[in-house]
């Protein structure tokens, strides 16, 4: 395996770890707001790392920018969607969980 291939693989692996963390957060975190944190941050970082890892293998500049574009679109979508859902949750007066309460 060449050096770029190794670097690419390490990045892909790191991305998968953050996806795992995101899923873990989705299952373990106590309320909808904290789960949205997990979704918006860990998963987007994971996708970013996977895109970065695939950039090493991309055949040309156009493909590389296309991959980056996919990441940017996913960022915009999840940032907006998590705001809209958090806002709606607050309008439905869902109280945020406080430390010390039962998880």
């Amino acid at each position: 395996m060449s050096l770029p291939e190794i670097a690419s693989f390490i990045l892909l692996l790191a991305g998968a770890v953050f996806f795992f963390a995101g899923t873990l957060g989705l299952l373990r975190f106590p309320d909808v707001y904290t789960r949205l944190h997990a979704l918006a941050k860990a998963d987007n970082l994971g996708l970013g790392l996977i895109v970065l890892g695939l950039l090493f293998k991309a055949p040309g500049a156009a493909m590389s920018i296309k991959l980056a574009l996919v990441w940017l679109l996913a960022l915009a979508a999840s940032a907006t969607a998590s705001f809209l859902i958090a806002r709606r949750a607050r309008q439905h007066s869902i109280a945020p969980w406080r430390s010390g309460e039962h998880e």
């Binding site: 679109l73 915009a76 979508a77 907006t80 705001f83 809209l84 806002r87």
Partner: protein, 209 residues
């Protein structure tokens, strides 16, 4: 429940027992690709070899749309609360991108996966997005322009078919002009599929009292 399980078992058995097909469709398609005017086999099948399927499909779409429209008019409408500025900003950013991507899918359809259906679906999504952000009015009564757009695909298809009929068989294009004709038809199709699909949503959601 038991009957469903029995059905699954019987069908599964039938599938596993199925003999190899006598005629190999992939070879036939590959053999005729030269005269189809496009390089992507799925597009060739959709618009050239079996064009009448696609023609009838657009007709079905229009019928469904008229059905939804007829149902939505009998009900009262009330405006929803205005969308948040953030959602509006996202829609303003994404809708032009969706149009661009739809154009891309339309073009790439001649060479690689993509085509009028996918382009139409993405266009429809742009309509849905704009409606959700409150940037697009509801479609109570489609105006003349809208109606023309809706039937554009069908119209272009029929016109091209009639011209071709003058020279031979229904929906068999002369292979020299097939590429251009298919692009023309696909543009009309994408527009009218996009309008119809977003219309299905735009009309059906305005039914709350």
């Amino acid at each position: 429940m038991l009957a469903a399980a029995g059905l699954a078992l019987a069908l599964g058995h039938a599938i596993l027992q199925l003999p190899q097909a006598a005629v190999s469709l992939p070879t036939q398609v590959a053999g005729n690709m030269g005269q189809s005017g496009v390089e992507h086999p799925v597009t060739a099948v959709l618009l050239n070899f079996r064009g009448y399927d696609t023609l009838l499909e657009v007709a079905v779409l229009l019928l469904a749309f008229f059905g939804v429209m007829a149902l939505s008019q009998t009900q009262s409408m009330c405006p929803a609360e205005p969308a948040h500025a953030l959602l509006q900003a996202l829609a303003r950013l994404l809708a032009p991108l969706m149009v661009l991507v739809a154009g891309y899918l339309l073009w790439i359809g001649a060479y690689a996966p993509g085509g009028a259906f996918q382009a139409g679906a993405v266009l429809a999504a742009a309509g849905v997005m704009l409606r959700l952000a409150g940037l697009l009015p509801a479609w109570a009564q489609p105006g003349r322009l809208l109606r023309t757009g809706l039937v554009a695909g069908l119209l272009v298809f029929v016109v091209v078919a009639l011209i071709a009929l003058g020279q031979g068989v229904l929906l068999q294009y002369p292979s020299s002009a097939a590429g251009t004709l298919i692009l023309l038809i696909e543009t009309g199709l994408a527009l009218s599929i996009g309008l119809t699909l977003s219309g299905l949503y735009l009309c059906s959601m305005e039914t709350r009292a």
